[in-house]
Symmetry: C2
Subunit: 134 residues, 2 copies
Amino acid sequence: MIGRLNHVAIAVPDLTAAADQYRKTLGAQVGAPQDEPDHGVTVIFIELPNTKIELLYPLGDASPIRGFLDKNPAGGIHHICYEVDDILAARDHLLASGARVLGTGAPKIGAHGKPVLFLHPKDFNGCLVELEQV
Amino acid sequence: MIGRLNHVAIAVPDLTAAADQYRKTLGAQVGAPQDEPDHGVTVIFIELPNTKIELLYPLGDASPIRGFLDKNPAGGIHHICYEVDDILAARDHLLASGARVLGTGAPKIGAHGKPVLFLHPKDFNGCLVELEQV
């Protein structure tokens, strides 16, 4: 069911410093910051040859990653995203397997403009898992 | 400097259950458990089309991931691994940039039989970063 690893998302306490570090210290290809007000984050994509790293920084007072950074002030890996061909079929298969889908269970349009769902970390080895239909 | 994302390593509290979940619930290609006594872990590799997930479970009393699971009983993402062409050149560049390399600074032979180094999470947005020479 799952396909490629679309990205690893890292919540960071200082977006400029993290982007500079990936660009200069790690020598990676780092994009420009993009505000995603619908998701309460500013993101920077780092393009690796086979996948992406997504740096996340809170945008607005209701940012869903504010609490994560409060608990992890140095930052940390926030979620991993797997690609699926059919997000509704994936959701129904997961629900039938007893896994919990966060929110209403209806896919939202994610930061890449594609339908996404998040799965409950307690059901997936403590990892917040995003599924993205590609 | 960094190239492909070689793998995302997830520490899990129940290796059989996690492997079953990736195989049956997520429909991924899951390998057989491999004991790595030199590293204090039993690993299972999950082959995605573009990278790998490495499930980690403690092996032996001195396993380096025992403490992580004590702190995170449900499991969690333990580290991410980037590939580099020349691990000594990468190390020297990182040290010159002020980043800390864990241990003696000499590469060890990792679970894939290749030289690896780990970087201090506090220097990399709370993420434990492994570099592997490929």
